[in-house]
Amino acid sequence: MNLLNILLIVPAAGFLLTLLLPKDNPGLVRNFTLFVSLIAFLLSLGLIGPVLANPQQLSFESNSPWIEYPSIRYHVGLDGLSLWLVILSTFLTPIVILVSWKYIQKRVKEYYAFLLFLLFGVLGVFVSLDLFLFFVFWEVSLVPMYFLVGIWGHDKRIYAAVKFFLYTMAGSALMLIAMVYLYNKSGTFDIPLLMDMMAKGRLVLTGTEGFWLFMAFFVAFAIKVPLFPLHTWLPDAHGEAPTAGSVMLASVLLKLGTYGIVRICLPLFPEASHQNARWIIGLAIGGIIYGALVAMVQPNMKRLVAYSSVSHLGFVILGVFTFTQVGLDGAVYQMLNHGISTGALFILVGMLYERRHSLEIADYGGVGTVAPWLSTMFVITTLASVGLPLLNNFVGEFLVLQGAAERNFLYAVFAAVGVILSAVYMLWMVQRTFYGETPDAVKNHFSDLSLREWGVILPLIAMMVWMGIGSSSFLPAISASDSKILSVVQSKAPVAGKELANAR
């Protein structure tokens, strides 16, 4: 059995075993799940070498029949595109388990079990090479998130959880229909096989078919991303979720949407992707600016970070639909960056909440004087998030802007406005929270980072710096996989676009 299969089994088995642990021993549950998640992380590190050696090809492939009719196969594998997303998920899981250590005091066993189950679901999505398998994991990852928000969230948690579930469910209903339609045309759910059939002309979609199939997939993914104006579930879900839920949601679950677009929409429906690129870019830029403007006026820190996600993911979508190598590389890199820096922001906001029991910015002020280390970490993360050079987001944003400019300079101009706005709202929040006068409620309640919290935040900060300076450790693998997808998309570019590409 190859390493990838073991990596999938570990969290699933961990989930089942956690359910069997005694209910009245939360310490055991915490240690056990932390142990399982660390094992998963270490295993995932073993994936890096072989994939980097050959990022364009699929590594760790395993392909065996699951259901005979219709032919559904357990087909999983990794390339440079999914590798880092897999590692991002396994990297964050032990961190969110540590984050929840003190905060989660009720129904501890179920909580950690759901976290492991969530890891199982998202890993499955990132490594599935069979459309049906992809869908199964896609839906399965929904269930633990629903419980995480609904049971351990804040006041309006139930509303948020149900909204989240129904939005995604409605999108995936369309996706399933599209999958079946595609199956009926081609006789397979296998993604590489479908790509191959299209390349060889054995599967030809008419313009209308291509358009509707593309739309069905795209809407399902866009809801998850979430692309403006389908984003309304996100602030609720993020705002109400417990810290670990917000982190997993922002850092990993949203990536399922963007990953789906790159993995499925682009290579399977290249013509439709080209035809629809214009308005999608419009929505992406709209989302960048809208998200930033709304974030600016949020009195609630979590909602502010949530809206900033809408803005940041606009960048990812923009990068993808430029259909340029730099743009797509930047988009994928930005997926990882957002996972690290927004995850860290949610964690830091969660730490503030644990101390002061409020998410309102107005309840804070002068935290810097009572908790200098916490504030320093927060400031570094903020700077990473707004794209300061030498930190991770800068690289991604730069590449996306470059790609956008290659396609149409105006796109880059509008998107850059978003970069400026994000600096405004993030720094403004930092100023109001950490500087100025210190109210008594803050003065008396605040302690600086504990050892556990250091353990949580340091790896994230380290990643921000590493990804900002050493992007060459990560980008080659991404580029290699991207260029493969891009070659499919470019080959189906409308004539004008082809000339443009040739001219370059």
Binding site: E68, A173, L176, N184
Partner: protein
């Protein structure tokens, strides 16, 4: 039909040994009932249980030698065997959840089991009827027994109302059906399904299409009523709500599956030549059934009523499979009915357990905090609800998947899209129950919930295991359904 009496051969008798065995046991129970002491009623449940198991074994043995019996009035093919086993398994599960319920209500008696057996016998006849009169006999046998069961607790007003409604409306429906049968006989000169098909296919002998349409419509009324398809679904919520919980579980699964089997057989054999004409009617009915069921369920606060409306919606999904009039569609419907049987009985088993004596606790709010007081039961109910919603790795997901795949195969794209969106609506009300169980604290005033009885525990565990099993390895049942979907024409 031959006028002279031909004695049935031993093979023919063996094909219908399960029905005969059950008839004997049911009659025996009726005879023994007045002679047994009040404490000795438990033995009737055991007898019924054993009779059903023997019936299943005999059916499996009978499938080695498929064919017709009793002057071609009945037929045992893979299709009939599939549904026969299904209704008998349903019977087994219902016996498991009934025993404790009847004890609590102090209404333990043999009649209950005898009547249930008669109902199951009727359903077995329905699914193997090769002929309209036989079909009517099976239907009446099953229905009359169901009317009795719906009003089983005769001192309970709600039970009385339920039984009366069911009886009156059900009789109307069967009357329509019988009238349709008479017309068909008048038009084609036969009540045998294959003979009707032959007559309809014969170009020299084409009956008047208008009359034939009217006759089919009459049949449709009767059948649609039995499966609670729109616009004949109105009775279901009231009847389901009023009947004793185990009986509701039974009615929403057993008679319905049998009626769908009958529906499928008639459409796929006798009236297959007219498929272009009935397809639009089914299309509209399927869509209306899904929409009415789902949207009405959104507003329910009584779990039994909610499940009743959801059961209407699920009938709508099966109607989609019927509309495709293909073997894949038939197999999809069979798979769906089987998975629905397990998840729905599982859900009702939990409802029966939570409702307690006198069914006082049937509001959705009564489930609040169940995840803390009875975590295992809550987890099982969550599995059933996720399966009813259609989340992957549960039986319900594959059920829906195969149905909508069959619809797409048959080029019914819009029906499939609307059906899928409908199931997203359904997610809302199923989720609400999960919300109540997991996200709301138990009410402080609530009386303590005792651990479930052994019967309920076994029923819930078995159904949950099957629900998950079919969600991970659907081929197990689907292959069987696929092989049995071809009907003897």
């Amino acid at each position: 039909m031959p006028a002279s009496f031909v004695p049935p051969s031993p093979q023919e008798l063996f094909r219908f040994a399960p029905e005969m065995l059950m008839t004997v046991v049911a009659t025996l129970i009726m005879v023994m009932e007045p002679l047994s002491a009040p404490e000795g009623k438990r033995k009737f449940a055991v007898m019924t249980f054993l009779a059903l198991i023997a019936g299943i074994v005999l059916t499996v043995m009978g499938t080695n030698d498929p064919g017709t019996a009793f002057s071609k009035m009945l037929v045992l093919d893979g299709f009939a065997a599939f549904f026969r086993i299904l209704v008998m398994v349903v019977g087994l599960l219902i016996v498991l959840i009934s025993t404790n319920y009847l004890k609590l209500e102090q209404h333990e008696s043999g009649e209950y089991y005898a009547v249930m057996l008669f109902s199951i016998i009727g359903q077995c006849l329905m699914v193997s009827a090769n002929e309209l009169i036989m079909l009517f006999i099976g239907l009446e046998c099953s229905s009359i027994a169901s009317y009795v069961l719906a009003g089983y607790l005769r001192d309970d007003k709600r039970n009385n109302e339920s039984a009366l409604k069911y009886f009156l409306l059900g009789s109307f429906a069967t009357a329509f059906l019988l009238y349709g049968v008479a017309w068909i006989y008048g038009l084609t000169g036969t009540t045998n399904l294959s003979a009707i098909r032959t007559t309809l296919l014969d170009p020299t002998n084409h009956p008047n299409l208008v009359m034939l349409g009217a006759a089919t419509a009459l049949l449709f009324v009767g059948l649609a009523f039995k499966v609670s398809a729109a616009p004949f679904q109105m009775w279901a919520p009231d009847v389901y709500q009023g009947a004793p919980a185990p009986v509701t579980a039974f009615m929403s699964v057993g008679p319905k599956a049998a009626a769908f089997a009958m529906f499928l057989r008639i459409l796929m054999t006798a009236f297959e030549p007219l498929k272009d004409r009935w397809e639009p009617i089914l299309w509209v009915s399927a869509l209306a059934t899904m929409i009415i069921g789902n949207f009405a369920a959104l507003r329910q606060t009584n779990i039994k009523r909610l499940l009743a409306y959801s059961s209407i919606a699920h009938a709508g999904y099966v109607m989609v499979a019927l509309t495709t009039h293909s073997e894949i569609g038939t197999a999809a419907a069979m798979f769906y009915l089987a998975s629905y049987a397990f998840m729905n009985i599982g859900a009702f088993a939990v409802v029966t357990y939570v409702a307690r004596r006198g069914e006082k606790h049937v509001a959705t709010q009564d489930l609040s905090g169940l995840s803390q007081t009875q975590p295992l039961v809550a987890a099982m109910l969550t599995i059933f609800l996720l399966s009813l919603t259609g989340i992957p790795l549960t039986a319900g997901f594959f059920g829906k998947f195969y149905i909508f795949k069959a619809a797409l195969d048959a080029n019914l794209i819009w029906l499939a899209v609307l059906g899928m969106l409908n199931s997203a609506v359904a997610a809302y009300y199923y989720l609400r129950i999960i919300v109540v169980m997991y996200m709301q604290p138990p009410a402080e005033s609530a009386e303590e919930l005792l651990a479930p009885s052994a019967g309920i525990r076994v029923a819930i565990l078995c159904t949950a295991i099957v629900t998950l099993f079919l969600g991970i390895f659907p081929s197990f049942v689907l292959d069987f359904a696929g092989r049995s979907a071809s009907l003897i024409r």
